[in-house]
Amino acid sequence: MKRWWLTLLCAVIALPSWADNGAAEKRMLDIAGELRCLVCQNESIAASRADLAVDLRQQIREQIQVGKSDAEIRAYMVDRYGDFVLYRTPLKATTLLLWFGPMLLLAFGLLVLATTLRRRKSSVADALLSDDERKRAQALLAQTTDNGT
């Protein structure tokens, strides 16, 4: 197994396209960075050193060379491995809650905040200190300077 991909790798290295073509290499890494290495424990294909990842990086290189678009390359990977391979979770019926959940949470949080603030305003009495307490507080304030924290 190891030998097989080493040979493949060497064959590829002989191609001039790899090291010389910085832009294509960057494109490959961008695509591979958002694909999951399926045999690894949560690593991207760009990051992993597993045989499968090396192999898939090579496939992406080849597909870039024959002029496929990023979307086509991703579609190819999904065809082979399913949605699981995509770190950028696709938006579809089962992931609606995932993508819009944070927005709903924020709306809910702000709504609760707004109602709480309004309720407070109407219910909290202005004078929280009794006259006696106020006098004591003033006496204390006169003694010490407020540091404002």
């Binding site: 060497c10 399913g82 944070p102 924020l106």
Partner: protein, 653 residues
Amino acid sequence: MIAELGHFSLILTLFVALAQGCLALAGAARDNAVWIAFARPAARAQFLLIIFSFATLGWSFIVKDFSVAYVAQNSNSQLPLLYRIAAVWGGHEGSLLLWLLMQTGWAYAVSVFSKQLPDVMVARVLGVLGLVTAGFLLFVLLTSNPFERLVPAPIEGMDLNPLLQDIGLIFHPPLLYMGYVGFSVAFAFAIAALLAGQLDSTWARWSRPWATAAWLFLTLGIALGSWWAYYELGWGGWWFWDPVENSSFIPWLVGTALIHSLAVTEKRASFKNWTVLLAISTFSLSLLGAFLVRSGVLTSVHAFATDPRRGVFILMLFAVVVGSSLFLFALRAPKVGMGGRFELISRESLLLVNNVLLAVAAGAVILGTLYPLFIDALGLGKLSVGPPYFNAVFIPLMVPALLLMAVGPVANWKSAKISALMKHLHVPAVVALVVGVGAPFLLGRWSALVALGLALATWIATAVVKGIVDRMRATRTGLRAQPRSWLGMHLAHLGIAVFVAGVTLVMGYETEQDVRMTPGSTVSTGGYDLKFLGVNKAQGPNYVADIGDIELSRDGRVLRLLHPEKRSYISSEMPMTEAAIDANGLRHVYVALGEPLADSAWSVRVYYKPFVDWIWIGCILMALGGLLAISDRRYRLKRRERKAALVAAGATA
């Protein structure tokens, strides 16, 4: 025999913890002074017993007693002594023992540093902590006993996971657990206050330093974990939104909300219910994190050995903790007063918005982490939720939080005037705009995200500096005369600014190359040249390494040799990379060896990472800010004043 003593000591601790939990809480409820007095010595006894257990396990590792199953699974006769000691917490069972050590250690600290608190309150706090400890002890004793024997004993152990054989293992888990477990103290204070029906500013003042202490440990633990992954995994990433990373980040987000909310409760007696809820959530989410990591529902580089029984037990513990505390909360919350009045524009409101943003961010991270599990459980297929998702939802939530960060500290309590805010903030605003728009040009490539990130970082940093300078001028005092909690806040905010700048610059300008190198060939990155000289074999204590020689130079001047390594451990198939990094505080040149190729060539990964250090420097500043805050005089003053008052009372009596 030694291991059995450790096991026995654990069982003994369980009884002490149960007795303490029941007696102290009952004593506090019925005002029984004898039972209340039991809390402190019991907490100390638990700590000593766990230290003993911990030491026996450590001893078993040191003397290589492979008849203890856990030792046999996690060490090897070739493993260096330092790692044999760190291996005590290198696996599931032992890391739980570390958890218990921290848990009882925090309780011990409460028993020592609580002289200014009423004894009834201390009894309640320690009682709750005792029950939590008992829960974890049951977990260890029933499902994860580190002292189990292997019969017959193997001659050789299986060795510690090579990924863990690193200096990171010695510090990362202890710091992280100090944080996780530390939030149990804030939790216990909240429950104690609910039990007593005494939710007031005094309660907030008491629990504030504890929450901040836990937060600062968690900050350091997460930062260290990120740094460790950065140089150990060999692909130059510092955060991957891995489920296990997330499960430590979620309590951090909620804990950050908690320390801000506690500030309001202490100063203005407002948000009391919300603060209690946050204290309960922070600890519950730490438990959830523990469940996720240890139940085997996750695939991750960190996941521990799986056993469904363990998952079920933690889930039960989680349910008991959350259920009982929320039940108590529901009983008591309606009776809690609202606290002081404040206007729509005031420090209170701003902190509330900050809390909403942090809580929503935590919610989003929880959603992203758990979503694939639910989809899988419902049979709707397998999904991955990765960095693209988290970046897309997390960054927009943090932008307003970062904007507010400069506003909050200059806003007045109760009611703030827009004009006054403008007076404080127009300088930071102008500086931020200039730096945000201008700096990316100087750095070579303009992009909106870099501009935004740098503007935010500058906005916060300038506001911090201006805030401190203004205050020193107004009070005509030096830096050291300022209250430490106030300085601590500013230092932590400055840490955030440094962190944001680091993240922005590294994401905007890092470069990455995966190249084939033969001896003599060169590659250049960020103005530096790297010349590959070759690879030599070397023998380590329990591994064989390929060590690369790479010459780093700039404009023809040789700076140093870099030695990235690739190690094959005897115990593991998977080779380990040890990246070589040249750091100067402003950038990293990061080199990792890939695979050997034909003709003594190697594939080599070369990264140029500008300002990546700032990410961790920022975290360290945040933690130092926390440290400064808890060292504030007013937490100690109380005690002295009380003592003076007691002496005075004694004199008159």
